[in-house]
Amino acid sequence: MSDTVVVAPAAKAPLFRPAIWGAIVVGLLVLGVAPLGISPYWLRILTTVLMYVIITQGLNVIVGITGYHAFGNGVFFGVGAYACGSCMAAGMPFAVGVLAAVAVSALCALILGWPILRLKGHYFAIATVALNLAAIQIIIQIGGITGGAQGLALPLSSWEPRPLYVAIYYLMLAGAVVATAIVALLLRMPLGFALRAIRDSERAAAVMGIDTTRAKVCAWAISAGVTGFAGGVWAYWITFIEPSSAFDPGVGVKAYIMLIIGGMGSILGPVIGAFVLEIVSTLVWGGFLQAHQLILGVLIIVICMAAPNGIIDAGARVARSWRSRHGAA
């Protein structure tokens, strides 16, 4: 009987198995109480991890689900940071700044996506790479409220540092949960079906009635809005932003690695990828000050060779073979 049953990969099953739900609940509880007992150093690390969960989920929408390689997606992190920073520098509250970060980033993707998402495959990937460089130039030229080349200092909070950093941690946690929920919902919605169809065969998707350009632009706007949120909160967290830090291409590259080692197009892959890469790189950095880049690079290569479709996929494979070996259905 077992040879007639070919089941969809677990990541695409409509509902998670109980074990995975259990792990999610435990994980959220641990993350929920973590700020009570950890050092400022680890609070900062965990906040960074959660920030990267958000960025990687944003990337997952356009790269993992839609199959459009937006190498320059990190640009929306910078757009979000500058949207939030400029609003706050103009005297608006932080909440308005974060909303602006989401809205302006999504709007930029809508406007840019309409022409460049007509490019297929690699051409789109290359077009997005140019965006980071263009954005740095634009911020420097605008000057004024963006601070230009001198950078932009955001108004300081009246809160004590510890409660402020804990609040930012929870904001990033909420963002990570919402971003993951967006990906999970999207995969169940008609738009998600359209995007997965485009990833597998854009030509077939079009003749089956999908307005492919519109679907891709929607996906990129969602991706950009999610990424912009992370940028907006980040700007307030570090309180001083400049073009080279906000539009650091390294942000997008790191999210890409996290997406690949976690598992493209899956719901939990980006979460796992962000945790694994950020925590491993922190530990390596702490243990090998001289050669941490080299060791990290080797580790990434090893993970990619051992789990070419991501940790989620490798885990599902192991679980399947374990079940078939132990006979339980």
Partner: protein, 250 residues
Amino acid sequence: MALLEARDLTIRFGGVLAIDKISFDVEAGHIFGVIGPNGAGKTTLLNAISSVYRLDAGHLAFDGADVTNMVSHRLSRLGVARTFQIVQPFNHMTVRENVAVGAMYGHAQLRQRSEYLDAADQALRRVGLIAKAQFMPPHLTLSDRKRLEVARALAMKPRLLLLDEVMAGLNHTEIERTIELVREIAATGITVIVIEHVMKAVLALCDRVMVLNFGRKLTEGRPHDVIDEPAVVEAYLGTRFAKSRAGSAA
């Protein structure tokens, strides 16, 4: 009135005329066959009708409305569905999800989860693929993948269905089954255009047949009349086919 009216359809690839001033009408409810040697322009013609390629000249009307160079997704919402000769499954989605996409975005436009999944199961039952609804397409045989193409198109609730060599590469039993399936589809009122090399199927199914050669229309008519024309025998069928027919008729 004809459901599909094609006038002087022309497509150029560089200096080559892939199809050259092809005109024909497809009556509602008919099965219309397109035959011809490899490279005659059959698939290009289908790509022209389904707006995968843009026309360099000519006009296309569907149900009385001008649809010349209308974008693919709008044409399919009007009720034109097609299969691909080289199958194009969505490999990372289950068979059922593949077909559900057709129900969501085709002429049917079903947006409720229960509705589009029901429509998908209905189409899968019709092509005999329901037992493999949870499979991933790479695990299907070629014959099943061809049936998946048909199921996806059916789930769109089309008025005009374009079948591009759905029988190529199938064995005798599978061909018999597919002929029966196409007949059932036509019986539900869907107009069908078939591109096919399997002459048995063309003769069994088609109300009218058009023969293409070197991008031009050679002739058109009832299947049994068309295959007796000397020009068709020479260009496509070959004298052996004509002799074997004459032999079996005698």
